[in-house]
């Protein structure tokens, strides 16, 4: 079911956790709030669940205002980072809890719990004690417990944060599979960009209590709205300067440190003289050891990452750039002087922060 936030605001004393924030999640959508800790994403999730009251604004589930409804009447499925499983109950009773509260007949409870456990691939573990579960299994029980009540919206608060990398990747695919299969409206909170990219239909980037940008993973990666979004999602090189020229969808950024004017695409209202940043993703940089166009740089470091190779480039002004390429061909060694080149249409000129364009 669709979930909407209308101008939700929340303060703790002098600290603003959320500026008035409006966000709609359509039915069946998987939306991830991605941001650093303290950016307000978990606050928004807790407001959706009903664990926290907003100071202003409204929460709507399926068009119905639930702002004043206590958590127990919202029919939300919540998955906590700490799992929050009931340690004194078996796996079966944990999953059955919400159905017992709803006074379903014993036969139906048994059937639905078994279905839910099968869904998260825990069949046969119904009688286990919680303390005998591994981290990944605990997370699956938490997921089954939230799903079994057929929630209006599934809410997940960094559910994979406590798992090791291998398991995290596996669970990402599992959660994605479950979402594909059932198309349940999901609001997911994480600070892990990979998680956000793998699972989400849309991602909302949060920072300091604001929604910086909302879009599909591809939109956010290819057309970030500002330097913060660019640096938070994906690897990025940012060069800071002033806009020296503005011409339709193009802007020139003057970088006096490097003595160059950098041309790139721009789709936000930046005027000549504004401070701005140029985004150069590591994969667009071309290294030419034999000279040619581009700026001079020295390969200060090479990192072998398996399928990729990463270069730390030192510019004449001591600024660093990172470049990456597939490790299938041979690569220049550390210390090599190279020219760094790029296509202007791969470069984005961005405001430094969202405030700049907001005001």
């Amino acid at each position: 079911m669709p979930l909407e936030f209308h101008a939700i605001a929340k303060r703790y004393g002098n600290i603003t956790a959320l500026w008035p924030l409006t966000l709609s999640i359509s039915a069946g959508e998987f939306l991830t709030l991605l941001g650093p800790s303290g950016s307000g994403k978990t606050t928004l999730l807790n407001i959706a669940a009903g664990y926290l009251d907003p100071d202003a604004g409204a929460v709507l589930i399926d068009g119905r205002d639930v702002t004043l409804l206590p958590a127990r009447k919202r029919n939300m499925g919540m998955v906590f980072q700490s799992y929050a499983l009931f340690p004194h109950l078996s796996v079966f009773e944990n999953v059955a809890y919400g159905l017992r509260v709803r006074r379903r007949p014993a036969g139906e409870i048994r059937r639905r719990v078994e279905e839910a456990l099968a869904l998260v691939r825990l069949d046969g573990l119904a009688d286990r004690a919680i303390r005998d579960l591994s981290g990944g299994q605990g997370q699956r029980v938490a997921l089954a417990r939230a799903l079994v009540i057929d929630p209006a919206v599934l809410l997940m608060d960094e559910p994979l944060g406590a798992l090791d990398r291998q398991l995290r990747k596996h669970m990402q695919l599992e959660i994605r599979r479950l979402h594909r299969e059932f198309g349940r409206t999901t609001l997911y909170v994480t600070h892990d960009q990979e998680e956000a990219l793998v699972m989400s239909d849309r991602i909302g980037i949060t920072n300091e209590g604001r929604l910086e940008q909302l879009g599909t993973p591809r939109q956010l990666y290819e057309r970030p709205g500002n330097a913060f979004v660019a640096s938070f999602l994906g690897e990025s090189n940012l060069l800071f300067g002033r806009v020296s020229e503005r011409n339709g969808g193009w802007a020139c950024l003057s970088l006096p440190d490097l003595g160059i004017n950098l041309r790139g695409l721009v789709d936000v209202p930046l005027a000549v003289g504004d401070e701005a940043a140029a985004l150069l993703r590591p994969e667009i940089l071309r290294l030419r050891p034999d000279g040619g166009d581009g700026i001079a740089a020295r390969i200060a470091e090479t990192l072998y990452l398996g399928e990729l190779i990463a270069f730390r480039l030192e510019l004449p002004n001591k600024q660093e750039l990172w470049s990456r390429r597939m490790a299938t061909e041979s690569w220049p060694s550390e210390g090599t002087e190279v020219r760094v080149g790029w296509q202007p249409e791969d470069i984005r000129v961005l405001p430094i922060s969202a405030n700049q364009t907001r005001e």
Partner: protein
Amino acid sequence: MRPGPSAAGHAVGSAVLAFLFLPVLAVVPASFNNSSFIRLPPQALSLRWYHAFLADPEWLRALGTSVSVAVLATALSVVLGLMTALGLDRAPPRLRASIVALVLSPLIVPVIMTSVALYYVSRFVGLHGTVLGLAMGHTLLCLPFVVINVGVALKGVDPNCQRAAEGLGASPWRVLRTVTLPLILPGLVGGAAFAFVTSFDEVVISIFLSGSQAKTLPVKMWETVRVEITPVAAVASTLLLALTVLVFLAVQIARKSNRMGRSYD
């Protein structure tokens, strides 16, 4: 690894333990004495004074009063202490600090002052010399043990467990009954045991609140020892000691089996 205590350390430790426990244990052989005086060591062992204890309706009534008062005081402390601890768990820090100070104050204020105050108040409201009056007085001293034990147990409960239950549709009462209470049960049982033992051997408040109708075992012992030195008092002491040990053993066993069955870590 830290080195273990030296031989001298062992000796000092053992001496301190002996100093603490030997006087307590002295009542045990004294109670099995067969002479008319408390003598150590006893000249011959017998159950004579146990028969005397059981044959005397006044001693039995005192024992019955003590058990009733302790059970009632424990029940009052558990209910009030549980509610206090649950409230404190959610209270803002400043309020929490002042309430905790208030709850602990009966342990800090000289008991004799509390006793005198209770004496006047209980006469005024007509509870003097009643089991209920004694139990209410004891509750003052028992309550802190429950509040502290339950408070510690509550700190160990993941607040998200309660939120999860609420999110699954459970009412606050159901969350308390099916999640919070089972998780803090060991703390609650421990607090109840402390409360029971505290009430059972309390003597200062009891002296002031006892009347001819309701007199607790320790008060009866004190009165008896004042007028005559009879080994029956040693029998009563031994019973008191045995009961205290039993209560704590039971709690330990309950906790251990609980830990083996489930884990709260």
